[in-house]
């Protein structure tokens, strides 16, 4: 049953237009609502999915599937089955759609309904990604802030070191060395080292 739910949820996620980052709002909403992962965990998973080989969204799907599957009591086999279910589900809608669209490419390109729908979907997707920017950043800097229930939120816990890391890394991620941006993996490795030094070695309260 768990696997059916996992398949269905990831099948729906597979219909997201705009690529892997556009999927994030929906993935976060579903995994937290279903109680599969905490918001903290999913942000960690996104970090790992970014820094391991393969498309980020596929890595994330495999990860979520593995975690959900491992919780079913089937052990290692359950985890692998969960990964397989989530990955197949997220790829399936686009597999079928791409084949059909490639066959009908010229009609598809000039169709006014397709063009119109994309005109509306593109800004919506960018707006959704902006909401992920704000909610992830808030989770990191103000862990007790809850946008869905502002009255119950507290802002006395403030991770100013994380905020400093973010402020330092934004320009760092955009500068170009010999015409190339600093690789995201290198940024993630640097941030991990910073985390170990500041929060681990010096024991600064997280």
């Amino acid at each position: 049953m768990t696997y059916l739910v996992l398949f269905w949820e990831y099948f729906k996620i597979g219909f997201t237009i705009g690529g892997g980052y556009a999927m994030l709002p929906m993935v976060i909403q579903i995994v937290t609502k279903r109680g599969w992962l905490s918001e903290q965990q999913i942000i960690e998973f996104i970090g790992i999915a970014e820094s391991t080989p393969g498309p980020m969204a596929i890595n994330l799907a495999t990860f979520v599937g593995n975690t959900v599957g491992s919780a079913t009591g089937l052990g290692v086999f359950g985890g692998i089955l969960g990964s397989l279910v989530a990955t197949v589900a997220v790829v399936l809608p686009s597999l079928v759609i791409i084949i059909v669209v490639t066959m009908l490419f010229d009609k598809f390109r000039n169709n006014k309904y397709v063009q119109g729908a994309l005109r509306g979907i593109r800004p919506v997707v960018v707006g959704l990604i902006l909401s992920v920017v704000v909610s992830i950043t808030a989770k990191v800097v103000l862990p007790d802030l809850n946008f869905k229930d502002l009255s119950a939120s507290r802002i006395d816990k403030f991770n100013w070191i994380s905020l400093l890391i973010i402020i330092a890394f934004v320009p760092l991620s955009r500068i170009k060395v010999k015409g190339k941006k600093i690789h995201p993996i290198l940024l993630i490795v640097c941030s991990a080292v910073l985390g170990i030094v500041i929060f681990g070695a010096f024991g600064v309260q997280q």
Partner: protein
Amino acid sequence: MKGQIRDNRISLWQLFWTFFKTGLFTFGGGYAMISILEEELVARKKWITSQDMLDMVFIAESTPGVIAVNTATGVGFRTRGVLGAVIATIGVVLPSFVIISVLSYFIRAFSQNTWYRAAFTGIQACVSVLVINAFVKMFGQLERGWFSAILLAAAFDVALFTDFNVIFIIIIGGVLGILYTLAANAIAKKKELPLSQSDRIDNESDDDRGAK
């Protein structure tokens, strides 16, 4: 461009192996993969032309799904049909599948370790930076105007402050986009004004493509 370009010189194994390598050496989102594919498929192997590549990226971006996977499916289908599409997709997804499956166990085992937690407090800050960059990039490619601005702001507010299902926000955006485009076309026709300059240029270039 024709809908299908089958090329039986490319074996299914070659297709699988090329996309397996691409999946293995790509980090981050699909946009990183596109430049690798361009080098591999257009410049080196010459399986497809750079115009095919552009068309394929357009399809990958404007259809549902992960862009990197969509591109693999598209190239696979164009070169070897449905079987090619499936093989290329499996190829590009397989490295993730194996690596993450192995990694998942280690991560769960370590997740309460103090040093692990310290490292991830740093990484979480970095994830936020990477998502900011994805937003800036996609915002830059957006059509400017009041319609886009309103939809962007509305989607942002609804997603951040309510539990409203994200998929419905996207569907509503698509419907509004169709209505807006139809209304804009109707008004343009009613006034019997010629199409705006940019539209006309678009149409001409489309005609050129058709003529070829």
